[in-house]
């Protein structure tokens, strides 16, 4: 009876917020670690570390993100890897070949240190989950891509495209697989889903004449490539340069 009475009485008492307090708690290194949680995480951490540390290849040189003219050794290596590893996948799906590759310079997140190359190296180079996409562009649309590269003044990695700019940044030579770009020909351009969706202001991928999502992460491209080579040999060349 009392129980019921108290209950109804409580219901009639309307509650109000009388005070609100705010605190931001820093999760800093002065806090103690919960031993049970730490022990639970440990086997997962060790498994990952072991796998990431396993050696895939070797490099006698240290490669920084250093750019000479408009290309870098790492950028060239990554763009060439996207070409060589993605092309068989694309061909299997469509029966066609990739004509060129375009990535973005900002997408290379680290250098490669002299010594062993591991999966960890691939995670450092490419921490993002971006995947390879292939976009069909007409020669006319490729011109927009080339115009973008000529005014961006960045060493965006390319493969199978040659672009030579004069001292005023005008295009003096542009070729795909060594051939002149024809306005009405369809070219299959491999890039990342991030750039396809307008990342780094690359707005020239849409509209297009076709699109394929390869479900192949760029990081996995690198891991597969590292697995295939013994020693990394990456070089700066004349694929994208300015003649001063």
């Amino acid at each position: 009876m009392l129980y019921f009475f108290v209950f109804t009485n409580c219901k009639q008492q309307k509650l109000h917020i009388s005070k609100v307090e705010n605190t931001v708690l820093k999760v800093s290194d002065t806090l103690s670690v919960n031993a049970e949680i730490e022990a639970y995480i440990k086997p997962f951490r060790l498994h990952i570390k072991k796998d990431l540390d396993s050696v895939l290849a070797y490099t006698p040189n240290t490669y920084s993100k250093k750019v000479d003219n408009f290309n870098s050794a790492i950028g060239n290596f990554i763009a060439d890897a996207v070409y060589s590893e993605s092309n068989p996948v694309f061909k299997r799906i469509t029966g066609k070949n990739i004509d060129m590759v375009l990535l973005n310079h900002g997408g290379i997140r680290a250098g490669i240190n002299k010594g062993n190359i591991s999966k960890q190296t691939a995670f450092e180079l490419m921490p993002f989950e971006n995947s390879v996409v292939v976009v069909a562009l007409k020669g006319k649309q490729i011109n927009n891509l080339i115009k973008y590269l000529s005014i961006s003044k960045k060493a965006h990695p390319v493969s199978k495209l040659q672009l030579i700019l004069d001292k005023d940044f005008n295009v003096s030579k542009a070729a795909i697989q060594g051939k002149v770009i024809k306005p009405n020909q369809t070219y299959y351009v491999a890039t990342s889903d991030y750039l396809y969706n307008g990342g780094d202001n690359m707005t020239f991928f849409k509209p297009n004449a076709g699109f394929n999502y390869l479900n192949y992460k760029i990081r996995n491209v690198l891991i597969d490539k590292f697995n295939k080579i013994d020693t990394l040999k990456a070089v700066i060349d004349n694929r994208f340069i300015q003649i001063k």
């Binding site: 307090e21 999760v27 049970e36 639970y40």
Partner: protein, 304 residues
């Protein structure tokens, strides 16, 4: 689930009996205050281990430290809710190797009460998210993603009501538009519904129909996109809302030293909070409830 409900009811009954033992007189005349503590994280992005900020030698964040912090607060105040505003996934190899399994398992161990979904929680596709659900002992709350034509159908709730010492707390969730952030083959047939309209329905249900004492919106819309953007954000939502007391936000990795106070359609205060990212911080907001009308403020008044 039924067992959990039973325990909640049983403990609520216990409180009533205890109050009764104090005597009727004391109950009616003495003003009682109850403190509800809301703890929150957002955009933890798989940061399970502690990490270093570039250029600084300090080691910050980490789930094992957060666990102790939460435990000590729960000891101080059992009327505590622990919420996450989404983007649990993506950012460290833990996600690449285990697909979010460890993130959900640890959040369950930390006894999270609920989380909403962020765009990165779709990074392994809607199937990848669904596959990890068995590892989560907490509810996913989202009101503006219509999952009816997807594998996630019936696995999320638009809102959830928590009862802590007789106080009813309604929590509903809002997600960001996925188009443009996530490729369609990832989110599949997920339909994005207008967050403003949905939150009007939700807050009415929670405040008016369900009589909640506190209404919290768990949002992954983002804090604010600037005066030149019409993109829906927590600040714009707050302005166009009724009956929401607190918006816990995410997505923009915004660190707010204290919640932003926004006037809603009824000219009442709404608190908007967000605590950066990667588990560097744990947000804490304490709501003191009183049955004494003399000291009650006009809606929410923030005393920092």
């Amino acid at each position: 689930m039924n067992r959990r409900r039973f325990i909640q009811k049983a403990s609520a009954g216990g409180t009533l009996i205890a109050l009764g033992n104090l005597g009727l007189q004391s109950f009616v005349s003495a003003p009682t205050t109850t403190k509800i503590t809301v703890l929150h994280t957002n955009d933890v992005h798989s940061h399970i281990d502690s990490w270093k900020i570039a250029g600084k030698n300090k080691d910050i964040g980490g789930v094992a430290r957060r666990a102790n912090l939460i435990e000590s607060i729960r000891k101080e105040n059992p009327n505590t809710l622990l919420l996450d505003a989404g983007d649990i996934f993506q950012g460290t190899p833990y996600f690449n190797y285990y697909g979010g399994e460890l993130e959900f398992k640890l959040m369950s161990k930390l006894k999270y009460d609920a989380a909403t979904l962020g765009n990165h929680d779709f990074d392994n596709g809607i199937d990848g998210l669904y596959a990890q659900l068995p590892h989560a002992n907490f509810d996913f709350i989202t009101a503006n993603y219509d999952f009816s034509n997807t594998i996630m159908n019936t696995h999320t709730k638009p809102y959830k009501i928590f009862k802590k010492s007789g106080i009813k707390i309604g929590v509903f969730g809002l997600g960001i538009e996925l188009e443009g952030l996530v490729t369609r083959d990832m989110f599949k047939e997920t339909k994005y519904l207008d967050p403003v309209e949905i939150s009007q329905d939700m807050s009415r249900i929670l405040k008016v129909e369900e009589n909640c004492d506190l209404v919290i919106c768990l949002s992954h819309l983002g804090y604010y996109y600037g005066d030149n953007s019409k993109k829906i954000s927590d600040l714009i939502l707050a302005k166009n809302s009724k009956n929401i007391d607190l918006i816990i936000g995410g997505h923009t990795h915004t660190f707010l030293p204290e919640p932003t106070v926004v006037k809603n359609l009824d000219n009442k205060n709404v608190l908007v909070n967000q605590v950066g990212c990667f588990g560097e911080n744990l947000g804490r907001i304490d709501f003191h409830f009183s049955n004494n009308t003399a000291i009650s403020g006009n809606g929410t008044s923030l005393i920092v």
